[in-house]
Amino acid sequence: MRLIAHAITPAPRPRVAVRGLRGRPLEWLESAGLGIWSTRWDTAEPLARDDVLDHHRVIEGICAATPCLPVRFGTAFADAAAARATLDRRSDALRDALARVSGRSEIAVTLLWREPSGDSAPRPPVDDAAGPGRRFLEERQARWSASDARRRQAAELVERLVATLAVEPALVRHEICSSERVAVSLAVLSPTDQAPDQIASLRRFLAGLSDVTGVVNGPWPPYTFAGIDESGGVSAGSATRLPGWPPA
């Protein structure tokens, strides 16, 4: 038997209105003024793809009741003692992180390029008289130029988004050009009671963009802002692989 962790919240145990993965009971384990919510799981039972999104449902339910730190999907403890020991070891960092996200939710903004990038878009043909070396270099230069232009454009979009949000830079995390089609992936930590207004403001801003399509999601639990100093948090020797993941 193993415990699959979902979230960490302050003690004492709050009342939450959700059940664990696949409707099973949620377990609460408390130590150092904190508690960890988990679902008891047979080690031989494989996790399936639906369990990933079910983990989100569980976290949303917990975060609706109390400040909470989402735990990365797939985190499992051998037993209650192991879970409590982790809370003991990292209680200060976990409390700091809880204070950071308390009363706040995450809004996700994704900007998708409307047109293919320079890698995929038709390009002017290289001079037919050019040798293979020159053709190669000119094609490579064209690719790099297109890629650089896209990165600059994406960076400008981030600046405009941050200006629209009017929040501290520390409350925004972003990536640009993380894939062929994604221009910007941005997360902002917003006071939960202001999230609907922030979302409406973002949607108005995105409606005026011509080169990208904007998608706003949330409010979500503060996944992106729940991280604590990871330098001492991962022990390769204790890592285990959950059975059945990835789903066959």
Binding site: A5, I8, R49, V52, L53, H55, H56, L69, P70, V71, R72, F73, G74, T75, A76, F77, A78, A82, A83, T86, R89, R90, L94, A97, E106, A108, T110, L112, P116, S117, D119, S120, E175, S178, S179, R181, V182, S185, T213, V215, N217, W220, Y223, T224, A226, G227, I228, E230, G233, V234, S235, S238, A239, T240, R241, L242, W245, P246, P247, A248
Partner: protein, 76 residues
């Protein structure tokens, strides 16, 4: 290379899966999540495209494949 447009609904799922698999508190005792042998922890949205491929694979369908086989190239 032919590029299929990414629908907004796909982007929403990608963003959520990215957070579930790559964000959140990392704790000792963590299980390593992988798709076709490629660990997803610490990898960005680009490779999460591959994880979505795994998520969307019908239960009981063929294992492996997708963008992550053969070294984890993203499905872009």
């Amino acid at each position: 290379m032919s590029v299929q447009p990414l629908a907004p609904s796909d982007a929403s799922l990608l963003e959520l899966v990215d957070r579930l698999l790559n964000k959140g508190v990392v704790l000792i005792g963590e299980a390593t999540i992988s798709v076709a042998g490629v660990d997803l922890i610490y990898l960005g949205l680009n490779l999460v495209l591959s994880s979505v491929d795994a998520l969307e694979r019908p239960r009981g369908g063929p294992a492996g494949g997708g963008g992550s086989s053969g070294g984890g190239a993203p499905r872009t």
